[in-house]
């Protein structure tokens, strides 16, 4: 039925970094170059072998593909089950994509304990990829927790002055979330037993529990939804669970920030898409006013706090809070446009914010300061840096033609369809987003340049090389996002039907619109008495099929 494990490509992609890490263990720790190039080679190979997945994926089907399953702990119903649908696939590919850039940007940033650093980076990669391929909740939880360990060390060993505080904060915060999530998982697991089903940890059977959960008491449903909500909200992070993020970002090394922003935060939003929305749609809807309030606060609050930051990295970190709150707004719209926008925002945030952290990292490596006030006028001596920074600033504030816009517009459109007033409030965040990013750019790149700053070198070949894929991706998504939309469409439609089975039952307007488009300009001229009356019902009649 399914291919044996050794023919399962996602499995290989997931574990290649771990195998590579094991191989690097054998190398003596003085050989810095071997670790750098070796880790880079492993990460690039990993990305390269993940690319065929894009082409293998059957876009017409919402089913889990590359499925592979084998018993693991039969007595508990735990299986080693993997496989991906479109939603997992794009995040999986984003991980391998950001993965090699994170390795590449570390060459000059990391000055000590290279062996451990690159090994942890690769272990991190495997654990993150693991989260996205799991089809078993137990396995999911395992990878989810595993992820924390490498991140903890990356921050605690190679971080800034307050690294321990930040690392422990990150660890405790996310652990709290995980425990709540575990409670939720176990509650559903035991509910299966209670209603006489064979208990299983498979995600599919968890999602199939939705109607059963609906029959439980309201309190049970709300508590369950809250357990998942807080568990994922901490990871996203949503207001008011976000304060671990600025600390973790500011203290983490550049690659740590890139991974954190690029992928780790997506775990939370992915959790919402995988668990909360399909398993507890009605409880989520009932609690929606509270969720939306936190979301809108996050958008505006994050942007306002970002505006007055004096540290570049902290500014970008708070902008993440704002951007991810926007992503949540899209998901909470619970309609195809909003969820599509939310998915795009995950990818776009992974591209733009990672790039912005890299951009901050570049000046930090040259000047060993991230204070905005220490810079100014860099455009004069760093033209390539200025260009890339400008592109990514525009991408971050959602300029049409670049990636950010696609996500933002889709989210706001979806939100407007579902909750118009909330969308109006969220749209103000767009204004603030432009304000803080352009102000940052103005203070760092424009104005007169100081003597110290004039000595800063423009980007070298390696730096240009790792920015290039990000820029290409930003333009690709901005100009021609349809291929990604095709991958995401079937799973998102499935999710929407899980939330609201009647969503697509309404009358389809496509043919009616086609007829209107054909009339076009001719519709401007006022008809001579009868013509318009005759036309409209005819168009109406076409709409039925």
């Amino acid at each position: 039925m399914t291919a044996p494990w050794y023919l399962n490509l996602p499995l290989w992609v997931t574990f290649v970094p771990l195998l590579g890490a094991l191989a690097l263990l054998l190398v003596p720790k003085e050989k810095r170059r071997v670790f750098e190039l070796g880790a880079l080679a492993i990460a690039i190979i990993d990305f390269a072998i993940s690319v065929p997945l894009w082409f293998q994926y059957d876009r017409g089907s919402a089913a889990v593909q590359w499925a592979f399953s084998t018993d693991w702990i039969p007595s508990l119903g735990v299986k080693f089950a993997i496989g991906m649908d479109g939603i997992s696939l794009v995040l999986f590919l984003l991980t391998t994509f950001i993965g090699f850039i994170a390795v590449w940007c570390s060459f000059s940033a990391i000055e000590e304990r290279h062996k451990e650093y690159y090994i942890w980076l690769l272990v991190m990669q495997t654990s993150m990829l693991g989260v996205f391929i799991c089809q078993d909740v137990f396995l999911f939880y395992l990878f989810w927790e595993l992820m924390l360990v490498p991140m903890y060390f990356l921050i605690a060993i190679w971080g800034g002055p307050q690294k321990l505080y930040a690392a422990i904060k990150l660890f405790l915060y996310t652990l709290t979330g995980s425990v709540l999530m575990l409670v939720g998982i176990l509650a559903i697991y035991f509910l299966q037993k209670k209603v006489g089903m064979t208990p299983s940890f498979s995600i599919e059977s968890f999602q199939a529990m939705a109607p059963v959960i609906l029959q439980q008491t309201k309190t049970f449903q709300y508590l369950l939804a809250l357990a998942f909500f807080i568990g994922f909200a901490i990871k996203v992070p949503m207001f008011p669970f976000h304060t671990w993020l600025p600390d973790a970002h500011v203290q983490a090394p550049t690659a740590g920030s890139v991974i954190l922003a690029g992928i780790l935060l997506k775990m939370g939003t992915y959790g919402f898409v995988r668990f909360l929305l399909p398993i507890l749609p009605s409880a989520t809807k009932a609690l929606m006013p509270y969720f939306l309030t936190l979301t809108i606060i996050g958008i505006i609050y994050g942007a306002l706090v970002a505006m007055i930051q004096k540290d570049m990295k902290k500014l970008v970190a708070y902008s993440s809070v704002s951007h991810l709150a926007l992503c949540m707004l899209g998901l909470f719209a619970m309609n195809p446009n909003g969820i599509m926008g939310g998915m795009f925002q995950m990818i776009n945030h992974g591209i733009s914010t990672s790039a912005l952290f890299l951009i901050v990292g570049i000046v930090y490596e040259r000047r060993h300061t991230r204070q905005i006030a220490d810079f100014g006028g860099l455009s004069k001596t760093m033209p390539i840096y200025a260009t890339i920074f400008m592109i990514m600033t525009m991408s971050s504030i959602g300029l049409p033609g670049l990636n950010g816009f696609i996500g933002e517009a889709a989210i706001l459109m979806g939100a407007f369809q579902a909750h118009p007033w909330w969308a109006v409030a969220a749209t103000t965040g767009i204004i603030l987003g432009a304000a803080y990013m352009l102000w940052l750019y103005q203070r760092v790149m424009f104005g007169p340049i100081s003597e110290t700053n004039a000595k800063m070198a423009d980007l070298n070949a390696r730096e240009i090389a790792y920015f290039t894929p990000l820029i290409v991706a930003a333009f690709w998504i901005g100009l021609w996002p349809t291929p990604l939309m095709k991958v995401l469409k079937a799973p998102i439609d499935k999710l929407v039907v899980q939330i609201d089975p009647t969503y697509f039952k309404a009358q389809a307007l496509e043919s009616r619109q086609k007829a209107a488009a054909q009339e076009g300009m001719a519709g401007m001229a006022a008809p001579e008495a009868h013509a318009a009356e005759g036309h409209a019902p005819a168009a109406e009649a076409h709409g039925g099929h």
Binding site: M394, Q442, E510, A516, A517, G523
Partner: protein, 749 residues
């Protein structure tokens, strides 16, 4: 069915559509090639690309795009009015899946498509045509940048702007329009901040972008609402569906039931907020005067001729919404009239030649919106065109003047340039007469048509608002004629004051005038020590200006109002006619124009505007000491200061919006640090304290008990301790004793 197929076939393979995409994309290629090559040269330390090559790519791409646009325009002219639309869909831009809208589920799909029809075609001609002339002017104006290697960047931005502007006008749906809308905003930002090492230029660029974003807020909401009503953002679909939607008694969206007019009003007002940002209307006009920090060709191209007219284009494009939204139109009318008046008054008290023109632009845009608001879309659009000619001529002319005067922008330090720069003088004079609205210059045909249409709304339909707007417009027109003559006299009349010859003490030193260091060329006017006076600029600067002035002279004859039909036809109105939504069928009426129309026309062109011009002439020319003006300023210093500083609106915004925003940010950050994070850290501290208490409990109580037991044992084990003497004999004795006891017990048993 068959007909449908034929129709869709005709739609998908229109005439010569295959290279339509080149019109916008050619300038993009120019921008990319120039930008990439220049950046490569700069980053790798090579010599900057040859300026001839940059010129060739930049001018060539815009020039060919213009020729292509002309070709398509001619093609359109050859077709029946109802078929004048060429569409090219390049690719599916976004496909967001199903969306529940008013009537059902629509597929939210938007194509990257261009649509060349009478309106967008005319705009494309304007953008590429005027754009080309301004590119040509820049080759002369940016002569210093040609030397220092920044030239490629300027030209690349300028080309990128043309690309974005063409996307805005040629886009076949609202999303494409928004792409251009934001794209021109970006280019404007980049070009205003071209001299980015100057703080004020960088700040002005940011201000323009952020202010426009506030407008975009409204634009986006308006476009979401339209999508909610129509289920599509495609202009063709929107146009085709409007009538059937208007035929319904009510629409229900988000559970709210209102009449279609109510919803269209809402959408129209929201979209107009966007137009206010881009087209610098009250209250979002504040960015445009600051935008003068950009090089003068930029002011001419972006901040006068094309970008700022986007809002007008949008309203004309969406006329099917506005025609059905009377309330939104009233808002447009009132805001336009207010802007026309207020901005014109600000123009009266400026000394910076570019600032005068900037306020003039804001004011003229107000006139255009008045036209739209009166429902006279063609009149408003026609003013877009004539204004593009005369205002571009004025801006470019002012650029020539500034350059000739060694980067001096203060008109008090100019004067007497008439004989020194004859071509520039002639061109600017024509443009001045045109903007003042003197027959038969183009401004007469466009502006007076607008004012007449506004007046007609009161005269024929009795809308009081129209009368108020008309009065405001007339006052604005008076001021326009006044400040333009003031500008011309101060700049060209009398004798040149820049070289130290200044009998009446008009000149000001740079430090005395707060705007003087805001010279648009990125450096302080340090050349004033040059001994050679101003002279006419090179041909590639004055020729484009002169061409624009000629267009300003004759352009008006393209759209002659019905009342003057013996002069010619209203070609422009007829051209746009098929795109305008008609509420009911109109039959061409040949009723005679009312006498009052002729009366107002004569009044405006013979008395009102010339009166204002003569007044300015009398104040500034007849009396070279400017004693009357100076006396006025001395008498009412408050009024002058108030007007000169744009009624302190900037300061008000700073105080009322920007400051509080930053303060709120700071407060929220404090909240974040002390409350949100404080709770987290508090929890951590609490845990630590608890741990310490536990540790103390552990150490003192739990362990204390253990130790107490140990202590007790120790205490009572003293006796036993003595047994352990360590002497083998003792042990042997005890062992023997034990053996005896054991044996005795065994024996007894």
């Amino acid at each position: 069915m068959l007909m449908e197929h034929a129709a869709s076939a005709a739609l998908s393979t229109p005439v010569h559509a295959s290279v339509l995409w080149l019109i916008p994309f050619l300038p993009l290629f120019g921008a990319l090639l120039n930008g990439a090559y220049g950046l490569f040269c700069k980053a790798s330390g090579r010599k900057a690309p040859s300026t001839q090559l940059v010129d060739l790519l930049a001018l060539g791409s815009v020039g060919v795009a213009f020729l292509l646009a002309v070709g398509y325009f001619v093609t359109l002219m050859g077709q029946a009015p109802i078929n004048r639309s060429i569409t090219q869909s390049l690719w599916t831009w976004v496909d967001l899946g199903g969306a529940q809208v008013m009537d059902g589920v629509a597929r939210n799909t938007v194509a990257w498509a261009y649509k060349f029809d009478p309106l967008s075609g005319a705009m494309a001609l304007l953008v590429t045509g005027v754009g080309f002339l301004i590119h040509l002017f820049s080759t002369g104006y940016m002569s210093e940048e040609r030397q220092d290697g920044r030239y490629y960047r300027f030209m690349a931005y300028l080309n990128l702007f043309v690309f974005s502007m063409l996307n805005l006008v040629l886009g076949a749906n609202i999303l494409m329009m928004f792409l251009g809308w934001e794209g021109v905003g970006l280019c404007s930002y980049l070009l205003i901040g071209f001299y980015f090492d100057k703080e004020f230029a960088a700040a002005a660029g940011k201000k323009a972008f952020v202010t426009n974003r506030i407008g975009d807020f409204g634009f986006m909401l308006g476009f979401f609402l339209l999508f909610q009503i129509f289920g599509s953002v495609d202009f063709d679909t929107l146009m085709g569906m409007t009538r059937s939607i208007m035929a319904r008694p009510e629409l229900t969206i988000f559970g709210l039931t209102h009449s279609p007019t109510w919803w269209f009003n809402l959408a129209g007002i929201l979209l107009f907020v966007g137009a206010c940002g881009k087209s610098a209307q009250i209250p979002l006009y504040v960015w445009l005067p600051d935008a003068m920090a950009g090089p003068t060709p930029v002011s001419a191209l972006i901040h006068a001729a094309t970008m700022v007219t986007s809002g007008l284009y949008m309203i004309c494009r969406m006329n099917f919404i506005y025609t059905n939204a009377p309330m939104a139109l009233s808002v447009v009318l009132f805001v336009g009239a207010l802007t026309a008046l207020v901005a014109a008054s600000m123009g009266l008290a400026q000394y910076d030649i570019k600032k005068v023109l900037a306020y003039s632009t804001v004011s003229q845009l107000g006139f255009m919106f008045m036209g739209m608001g009166a429902g006279a879309y063609t009149a408003g659009m026609f003013h877009v065109f004539t204004h593009a000619f005369f205002k571009a001529a004025l801006f470019l002319g002012s650029g020539s003047v500034i350059m000739a005067c060694h980067h001096e922008q203060d008109m008090r330090n100019m004067g007497g340039l008439k004989s020194k720069m004859p071509w520039t003088y002639a061109s600017m004079l024509i443009a001045t007469i045109a903007i003042a609205g003197i027959f038969p210059f183009s401004g007469f045909f466009s502006k007076d048509e607008i004012l007449w249409k506004v007046f007609e709304g009161w005269y024929k339909e009795g809308h009081t608002l129209n009368l108020i707007a008309w009065l405001m417009g007339m006052a604005g027109a008076f001021m326009t004629a006044f400040y333009m003559v003031r500008l011309m006299v101060m700049t060209f009349a009398g004798e040149y004051r820049g070289a130290g010859h200044d009998p009446y003490g008009h000149t000001v030193k740079a430090e005395g005038h707060h705007d003087a260091h805001h010279d648009d060329h990125g450096h302080a006017p340090s050349h004033s020590g040059h001994d050679h006076g101003p002279k006419e600029v090179v041909w590639n600067m004055w020729v484009p200006v002169f061409i624009l002035a000629l267009l300003a002279l004759v352009g008006g004859f393209l759209n002659i109002p019905h009342s003057l039909h013996w002069l010619g036809g209203a070609h422009f109105s007829e051209w746009l006619g098929p795109l305008l939504y008609q509420k009911e069928a109109v039959h061409a009426s040949h009723e005679a124009a009312p006498a009052i129309e002729y009366g107002l026309m004569a009044w405006a062109t013979l008395v009102w505007a010339p009166g204002a011009m003569l007044l300015a002439w009398w104040i500034y020319k007849m009396d070279p000491t400017w004693a009357k003006a100076k006396g006025f300023v001395a008498k009412f210093p408050g009024v002058f200061r108030w007007v000169h500083n744009k009624y302190f609106v900037d300061e008000f915004y700073e105080w009322a919006i920007i400051g509080p925003c930053k303060q709120l940010g700071a407060q929220l950050w404090a909240f974040d640090t002390w409350v949100v994070d404080g709770m987290v850290n508090g929890a951590a501290r609490f845990t630590l304290i608890w741990a310490n208490i536990s540790f103390w409990f552990d150490a003192k109580i739990v362990d204390g008990l253990v130790n107490f037991v140990a202590w007790l044992l120790q205490r009572f084990s003293g006796g036993f301790g003595k047994l352990q003497s360590g002497r083998v004999q003792n042990y042997a004795f005890v062992m023997f004793l034990g053996f005896l006891v054991f044996a005795f017990w065994k024996f007894l048993a």
